[in-house]
């Protein structure tokens, strides 16, 4: 932010999530880049916002989707709903990569560079951050993917199946959750002991389970590595 002693200076932050604590740290730097003063840090918590909602739908496949198929599914739903790419996500936090010729989804909310595992089911999320007319349109379009019994309509099932090589078995609308429910809901993650394959020099994790849709991020370090924080793992 360029500072002037006579005018109002401001910075606008977007995509802040409700009921979330943030830390803002800053420096003053003079115009000639010769002096800097640390201004320290201050924390703040955004207020609760009941209009922030996560709409969920669970999709089942006859075999796990590859990256290209995950992208096709995400892009079909994103296009149909009309929302920005970053507001339609799958369980791994991936979004539609609408770049021509894209073969994998994009990580628009973090910079994790590892590979993403797929299972025979996945949850697709639509996130709306307010009750604006555009958000209401996105919700309306998302809900229109499903019929009165919450199942994908035959038309949408056929369209999506066409983009995922016919492996889609079903899609079911699964209700909504507020941000507080999403961020504080209890889930149990079970990870069996990993097996180090000395011949192939890889680590095999055979069974991972969650009692609630989500993802587990793994990182590998040396024996004496500092245990990484969630932030470090997501942005390594």
């Amino acid at each position: 932010v360029a500072l002037s002693p006579v005018s109002k200076n401001s910075s606008t932050f977007v995509d802040l999530t409700p009921s979330t604590t943030y830390t803002l740290c800053g420096y003053y730097l003079n115009s000639t880049n010769t002096t800097n003063v640390s201004l320290g840090c201050q924390t703040f918590t955004t207020p609760n916002d009941p209009t922030w909602l996560q709409y969920e739908a669970v999709f089942n496949y006859s075999s796990p989707l590859n990256a290209s198929q995950r992208n096709s599914l995400l892009c079909y739903i994103t296009t149909t709903v009309g929302a920005n790419n970053d507001y339609i996500l799958n369980g791994a936090g991936e979004s539609c990569n609408s770049t021509t010729g894209a073969t994998a989804p994009e990580d628009l909310w973090y910079n994790f560079t590892g590979s993403t595992n797929s299972e025979n089911n996945d949850t697709i999320y639509l996130i709306v951050v307010d009750n604006s007319s555009s958000s209401q349109t996105f919700v309306q379009n998302f809900m229109a993917l499903f019929n009165s019994t919450n199942a994908l309509t035959p038309t949408n099932l056929a369209y999506i199946n066409n983009s995922v090589s016919g492996v889609l078995l079903s899609g079911v609308y699964n209700g909504t959750q507020t941000y507080v429910q999403v961020s504080t809901g209890n889930t149990t993650a079970t990870v069996q002991s990993s097996i180090y394959n000395q011949t192939g020099n890889f680590i095999n994790i055979t069974s991972v389970s969650l009692t609630y849709p989500g993802s587990i991020i793994f990182g590998v370090g040396y024996v004496n590595s500092t245990v990484p924080s969630q932030e470090q793992l997501l942005n390594c």
Binding site: P5, K8, S10, S11, L16, P18, C25, Y27, V129
Partner: protein
Amino acid sequence: LTPSVTGTDAALYAGTIPTITLTVINVSNTATIPSALSVPKGGCSTASNVILTKLPTSDLSISLSSSVLQANNIYTNLTSNQITYGATGNMSQSFLVCSNASAVTGTSVVIPLTVSGTNLSDYKLSTYSLTVTVGSAPTPSVIVSLPTNYSAGTGIFNVSSNVEGYYIYSLRQGNYTTDANNLTLY
């Protein structure tokens, strides 16, 4: 008035006097202005007042020379560097004089003041120039005000400063007491 020509060749020249129009005006009203101000480098003076003895019947403006201000990296918080009065309002108006960080410390600049407006003839200034001296840069005092409300995840943070420069920040989710992103200067 009689022209006077002197010198060895005075006889070879004829002196003439141009037409001079003198206007006698009523200057019973005064605008009191400080004659000198001190401005910190990159910062602003304390607020100064221009005080009229009486409001104009129509309008009156007192201007600081924009060209002189600009040439010396000095500016004001006034629109067009002009203090404007109308028939109604406050007889005392405040203004700030500020300097850019590129202003030279120790420089004294004489800024001409001029009067204009419908009631130009009714006023005299206590001084027709303002001397601005650029002092050393102040200790930075930057205050960041957190937003009082958020709309769809958007919050506006206001940043006030007593001096020119930049506010470089990081925003992270979570509760931290220190900044992991150290600023390195070369």
